[in-house]
Symmetry: C2
Subunit: 324 residues, 2 copies
């Protein structure tokens, strides 16, 4: 199955998610409406709703809660992006100006708060208690992840385990929650719930690793952002962390200097990229991301083979670029 065919399986669901999002944002403040619609129409791939819908269908769910639960996840996801972009001072996301650069930090902070509240209202209206707890806990964990990431900024002693802890919280918990909720809606047994949680968790890790690789070595025309933002923001990510174990003492000093100085420029990026090239970091990092995607696929063994399972596999592989 191709990833396109996989997406086709949940196309109706995702259309309903889009419609739900449009209808659900009710505010008497036109500017908030404008900002939220700008954010929600940013061309995001709705990956989390796709996996929620696929998980639900894999488990035989036939109910009508996929749009509402997907909307909650998109609200939380969007709120975190909004606040992250403020913290990072990001000017572009997905080839468009960020909300903070268009509307200012103040409005962006408040629209993020609006989205958190909006998510919980929809969650209360449509979600059972177990689902409410999964999603509010995921949002909490994500804010913790951002704090840990901030504290580890420029910290050259960051370990691979630290990195996993950060991307678990930043990315994997919400993918895991999306998949788990699909199973909870269908009320399958805990064995299958665990399988879905694990799938989402490892998928999220592999996905974030791929994102971190693309940040240095992706094609800006495809990713929509310039390379090296993680370096410019002083964030140590997969390719750098893995490389730190391989380089000479002198090279380690160079990396340390790069990440601990006050500001970094294009020349610094060139130095780092040439070192990454020397140590073959693209291939090594991609291999690491692949390991996690394989773990995510292994989690699916508990399910019988069918088109939904095939769709999971196709999309997971596409997310690490293995079927492009």
């Amino acid at each position: 199955m191709t990833s396109k065919e996989a997406l086709e399986l949940v196309k109706n669901d995702i259309d309903m998610v889009e419609q739900f999002l449009k209808d659900d944002i009710k505010t008497s403040v036109p500017l908030i409406n404008e900002v939220i619609l700008y954010l929600l129409s940013s061309g995001g791939k709705r990956l989390r709703p796709v996996f929620l819908a696929l998980s639900a269908k894999l488990c035989g769910y036939n109910g009508d809660k996929i749009p509402a639960m997907s909307a909650v996840i998109e609200y939380i996801h969007t709120a975190t992006l909004l606040h992250d972009d403020i913290i990072d001072g990001a000017k572009y996301r997905r080839k468009r100006p960020t909300a903070n650069s268009l509307y200012g930090n103040d409005i962006a902070v408040l629209c993020g708060d609006f989205l958190y509240s909006r998510s919980y209202i929809t969650l209360t209206e449509y979600g059972a208690k177990d689902v409410q707890m999964i999603l509010s806990s995921a949002a909490l964990t994500m804010s913790e992840g951002e704090v840990i990431q901030l504290l580890k900024t420029g910290d050259i002693n960051i370990t691979f385990d630290d990195y996993i802890q950060i991307i678990t919280r930043k990315t994997a918990v919400l993918f895991s929650a999306a998949c788990e909720i699909g199973g909870r809606l269908a009320q399958v047994d805990e064995n299958k719930i665990k399988a879905l949680k694990d799938f989402g968790y490892y998928l999220g890790l592999g996905f974030q690793m791929t994102d971190d690789i693309l940040d240095y070595m992706g094609d800006p025309a495809v990713t929509g952002k310039k390379n090296g933002t993680d370096l410019f923001e002083g964030k140590l990510t997969l390719p750098v962390i893995l490389m730190l174990d391989m380089v000479s003492k002198e090279e380690k000093q160079t990396i340390t200097d790069l990440f601990t100085k006050k500001e970094r420029n294009e020349k610094d990026l060139e130095i780092l990229l040439s070192m990454m090239n020397k140590y073959n970091m693209k291939e090594i990092s991609e291999k690491k991301a692949d390991e996690y995607i394989n773990m995510s696929l292994n989690s699916l063994n508990v399910f019988e083979n069918n088109q939904y399972k095939d769709a999971f596999i196709a999309l997971a592989l596409a997310m690490v670029g293995r079927n492009k």
Copy 2:
């Protein structure tokens, strides 16, 4: 009854709220713990928990949910203060440095997000669906209020109705929610629920008006902040809005110039204060706040006279300084 005696009636409840808050904050990130404890131990008066507990007792509630519901309200209240202080660039609150000035804006944004999520987790764990909806809607409305306030900053054409709309959202909805929840916990009839909602709503308005009067004409040794922050931030509040209807054309131009120029200084504050003095704005504004407190007290007519009702009256009067 004095306000001190009124507080004595719910002292046990508030002690339990304090204990609940200490036990409820669970995070594996020490810095978040530190920031949250700093915020929660700031010497806030726990006014909203006091009114929640009093409302519950007035309605004969004997259950154990007052601490959890109060904690949720304090989390939401604290999260909004945290984000407001960032937006206002505030350096002090209640005589202590703000979290944004101590820990930086980035950490303050994320700790606010943490608190919103924490509030929803506790709300899911302890709250029935009606209470969940009341509080998440209140949080949403508060973020809208902050946006409206931002948009009206420096807007000399702001009306009294605009002002009521802003302080309804910023302050009154959460007081109203606190009182309503007391009644919902006790499961009293809708007539009493409406009375409690109205009481909290008008109380919140009167309280915010008093706060806005004190901002210009309070004693900094008591309020813990220097006078005129609303002027420095370009916010038009009660004393100015009421005065705009009374002044001469020339004076109106002076006020316009003050609020529309780029920055304001102590000299500008002197000009404005002397005009307020000339037009007797302290007394006129206090009379307006009194009107709202009287409306809040009138809402209580549906309840029989007892010590809890007396406590409401004593505290409402204390909040506009009428029994000092």
